[in-house]
């Protein structure tokens, strides 16, 4: 009997320790609304390329602010900002960003960096994308050939860009050749790879995935493939509870000389080239 009690007490102690340890943030959160936590809603590409894992610890060291980065598509990130569920956004969907700003959901928007979208696809290139002078022509050719194309279909920045091309090409993508994944960029590339299909991706995510896929880079660096990232602070006038000060510091950090230098040098070691070109206005 005694032994049983011992086991019970031991269990109770362990249980109490585990639970209290895990729930500790609860009391902190309840005690004071902390200025030291910042919620960043961003695109999957900044996380999948590892850029954020590289930048955020440096930002924390400088400011003491812990950034919670939530990687979703740009569309969803903007919705989070609209509801005040994020303090700051790092997104790449200029058209959607413009609407967001004009409706007053954002306080400030600054350019941070750019890279290029690329079109990747099967080696034999049935739609002759490789010889296209620009992305618009490439999309026209894909639509005309009804060549297999895998779309994000998730309202992300990349998806918005892609839909813009179809619209400009006067094509309505539908039918069995057009597949929507509803997933992030990396997952979409992998699906395109299995289906041996074309897809539009940001270059950074492609470089990360490159080693394990058989699709080839077919079109890059045309003017209409430029991919601009911007940082937006959520307007505190819309939601009094957002951490605006933290958001400003993060926005300033990304566009500062140091932040820009860090962004520009990221990825050179691992991928042999920079993944993002810093272009904040001085």
């Amino acid at each position: 009997m005694r032994k049983k009690y011992k086991a019970l007490v031991l269990f109770a102690v362990i249980a109490a320790l585990v639970v209290s340890n895990c729930l500790a943030p609860l009391t902190i959160a309840g005690a004071a609304r902390s200025e030291k936590v910042l919620i960043l809603a961003t695109t999957t590409s900044t996380k999948d390329t590892g850029l954020l894992d590289y930048l955020l610890p440096i930002f924390k060291k400088k400011t003491g602010i812990t950034v919670k980065s939530i990687a979703v598509g740009s569309g969803q990130a903007l919705t989070m900002g609209q509801r005040g569920d994020a303090d700051v956004l790092l997104v790449h969907s200029p058209a959607q960003e413009k609407t967001f700003m004009s409706k007053g959901y954002g306080k400030t928007r600054k350019d941070v960096m750019y890279n290029y979208f690329v079109i990747i696809g099967p080696k034999n290139d049935p739609a002759k994308v490789k010889t296209a002078p620009d992305a618009l022509t490439a999309f026209k050719r894909i639509a005309a050939a009804k060549a297999k194309f895998v779309s994000r279909g998730d309202n992300s920045g990349t998806n918005t860009k892609e839909l813009g091309f179809w619209k400009a090409a006067g094509a309505t993508p539908s039918g069995s050749w057009y597949m929507k994944t509803g997933q992030g960029m990396a997952a979409t590339i992998r699906i395109a790879n299995e289906k041996n299909a074309y897809t539009l991706t940001d270059e950074g995510t492609y470089l990360v995935q490159k080693k394990s896929i058989s699709l080839e880079l077919l079109l890059k660096k045309t003017k209409d493939l430029k991919n601009q990232y911007g940082v937006i602070t959520v307007n505190p006038a819309k939601h009094s509870f957002v951490n605006y000060n933290g958001a400003v510091r993060f926005s300033d950090f990304l566009t500062s000389r140091e932040g820009q230098r860090l962004i520009g040098s990221y990825g050179t070691k691992k991928y042999g080239k920079t993944l993002f070109v810093p272009n904040a206005k001085k």
Binding site: V37, I39, A186, H239
Partner: protein
């Protein structure tokens, strides 16, 4: 196939060298799922007892809800918990979104019906005479309940095993309310999703092996303890 073998090889390297990501995700999983299963047990067993031993209007509806809850789709749980915890939601001021407590809440919602439901049926399966006998022998109400739980412990353990298995292997809900933030809310399942996304398959396989081993060890431990009681 080559990928798998290479992955498993690297996986063991990562595990034995104490790769920081592997450790972080493992500790995260144990913390959240451990807390959630304990809380579910503390809430679920009394609830199960209450449902098994008392009769009140609407009880059948309540029991049906609990039973239906055993099959709650985790992503749905994640979504609803998120809607409540978002800063724009009714409990937003608690600032729990994207923290471990938020993940524990979601996991408790998933595990609680399992524990409560299985406890209810366990107690109800006991011979009703046992209760009367205990009381006739002069047991207090507390002692009587203790006797019942003791008798039904096999099923209660099954409930814990089922609950733990359900939440440690779950990814949809914890990803939604936790956000898989490195250094804060990363657990094994969400880290696996992330590593696959990055194309880091060996890391993903390493994490998978740990997840499988953990689930097995926990289940084995509980089953061992459970089976010890058999035949006595």
């Amino acid at each position: 196939m080559e990928l798998l073998i290479e992955g498993i090889k690297q996986a063991f390297m990562l595990i034995f060298t104490g790769d920081p990501l592997v450790i972080e995700a493992t500790v995260g999983s144990l913390k959240t799922s451990g807390s959630a299963v304990i809380i579910s047990l503390l809430l679920g067993v009394p609830l199960g007892l209450l449902l098994a031993l008392t009769r009140f209007p609407g009880r059948n509806v309540f029991v049906s809800i609990i039973n239906a809850g055993m099959g709650l789709p985790p992503v749905v749980v994640g979504l609803f918990v998120a809607v409540f915890l978002w800063r724009s939601g009714p409990l937003g001021s608690l600032e729990l979104m994207y923290t471990m407590p938020a993940m524990v809440i979601a996991q408790v919602v998933i595990a609680l019906p399992l524990v409560a439901g299985l406890t209810t049926s366990a107690i109800q399966q006991l011979n009703p005479k046992l209760r009367l006998q205990a009381l006739a022998l002069g047991a207090t109400k507390g002692q009587m309940l203790y006797t019942l739980i003791k008798e039904a412990r096999l099923m209660t353990f099954a409930a814990v095993i089922a609950g733990f298995g359900a939440i440690i292997s779950e990814v949809g809900a914890v990803l939604m309310v936790g956000g898989n933030i490195s250094g804060q809310t990363r657990v094994l399942t969400t880290a696996i999703v992330e590593e696959v996304g990055k194309g880091e398959f060996s890391e993903a396989i390493a994490l998978s092996i740990i997840l499988l081993s953990l689930t097995f060890l926990a289940t084995y431990g509980l089953t061992y303890y459970q089976q010890k009681g058999v035949g006595k």
